[in-house]
């Protein structure tokens, strides 16, 4: 893991994309921390920001994708939803996708193998482009906006995306990550997996988010708990807050991945998030 964060910017007005490497976002970890930092730089452009955290592909129950945006009344909305999107995005070169502007025509965005396509007027069925076992997608189904045909995004995000003339978005994983400390990491992975009994929701047999074995009855719902900070920087499930809103556990996870994340950064990030949530609460 690098100290830098690689962000994909999509300009819907011009149908252009840009990749920027931010060296100033390390202390925000990822997820909501990274998103709020990006929002502080881009507020005037009123973006929709999707982001992941450093453990999206590495530990169980870290299974969401973070989205933030201002709703039509100018209030900041923060929402977390499951499916494969977080996992797939974590296996690209991007840690966040920032969507700005409005397309003149209805557009489907396809992000695959480092290429960005703006596919115009893709009405009807989902396009076959980019959709496979290593893909995830957002599309509209009636009034609902769904990830992977099942997991529901916040309806206000649906309104925003419709307002930007976005018909859908597909992302395909194109990266593999080498595990540096395989034994240490695998041991911690198994230890966290058995902590599934600490989830604040029972296991069930509904469709589950990628990386989560719970299959809980609430997996399809978007979530937001304003009391959570560190675990939302990781983009962990809110029901796993007992595991991931805990600095020593998170520190151990970083260590097992061979990454010396400073303890003080993990300790201080909660206050940063609370302050920024307040600072950017309204457009």
């Amino acid at each position: 893991m690098s100290r830098n964060r690689t962000i994909l910017y999509l300009d819907l007005k011009k149908h252009t994309s840009q990749v920027k490497v931010h060296a100033d976002t390390y202390e925000y970890i990822g997820g909501i921390g990274l998103s709020l930092k990006l929002l502080s730089l881009l507020k005037e452009e009123n973006p929709v920001i999707f982001s992941i955290g450093p453990f999206n592909n590495s530990f169980p129950f870290v299974s969401k994708v973070c989205s933030i945006f201002y709703d039509t009344e100018g209030n900041l909305v923060e929402s977390y939803v499951g499916g494969r999107l977080g996992l797939v995005l974590s296996l690209t070169s991007f840690e966040a996708v920032v969507v700005t502007g409005r397309s003149a025509n209805s557009v489907f965005i396809n992000i695959s193998s480092g290429k960005i396509e703006f596919v115009l007027n893709q009405r009807g069925d989902l396009p076959s482009i980019g959709l496979s076992n290593r893909s995830s997608f957002i599309n509209f189904d009636g009034d609902q906006v769904l990830i992977d045909r099942y997991f529901r995004l916040d309806p206000r995000l649906g309104e925003r995306l419709r307002g930007q003339n976005v018909e859908g978005l597909a992302i395909s994983a194109d990266h593999s990550l080498k595990i540096e400390k395989r034994d240490e990491y695998s041991k911690l992975y198994r230890e966290i997996l058995v902590r599934g009994r600490e989830l604040s929701v029972p296991y069930d047999n509904f469709f589950s988010c990628a990386g989560c074995p719970a299959g809980c009855s609430l997996s399809a719902q978007p979530e937001y708990d304003p009391s959570l900070t560190l675990s939302y920087c990781l983009v962990a499930c809110g029901f796993a807050a007992n595991i991931f809103n805990n600095v020593p556990t998170v520190f151990a996870c970083f260590q097992s991945l061979g990454f010396d994340y400073p303890h003080e950064v993990l300790e201080e990030v909660s206050d940063k998030i609370k302050r920024m949530r307040s600072d950017y609460a309204h457009l």
């Binding site: 590495s58 797939v88 496979s132 076992n133 990266h175 595990i179 990386g211 074995p213 299959g215």
Partner: protein, 89 residues
């Protein structure tokens, strides 16, 4: 590659374990099996795995790469017991 021993009074013969997915109707799409398999090969990936999971909008299906090694962990990690190892002589 894991090996299973045959039972009975004859000397044990070594057989190769083959991953099968006999109960995909139970699958909830968590992908723990996919990640487990790639992890065993030293990477985190959706491509370097012995198993791939597809979703058609209503149910999941599995594609197993018989050429890649598998361990019993991939069977045990499935929360819905969808997978099994069989003997393939």
């Amino acid at each position: 590659m894991p090996r299973l021993e045959s039972a009975g009074r004859y000397p044990p013969i070594e057989v190769m374990a083959k991953l099968v997915a006999p109960h995909m109707e139970r699958c909830i799409g968590c992908l723990l099996c996919v990640l487990c398999s790639s992890r065993a090969r030293g990477s985190i990936s959706l491509e370097d795995s012995a198993i791939r999971i597809y979703f058609d909008g209503t149910s999941f299906s599995a594609q197993v790469d018989a050429g890649l090694p598998v361990s019993e962990e991939i069977v045990k990690i499935c929360p819905r017991n969808c997978l099994a190892l069989t003997e393939d002589q």
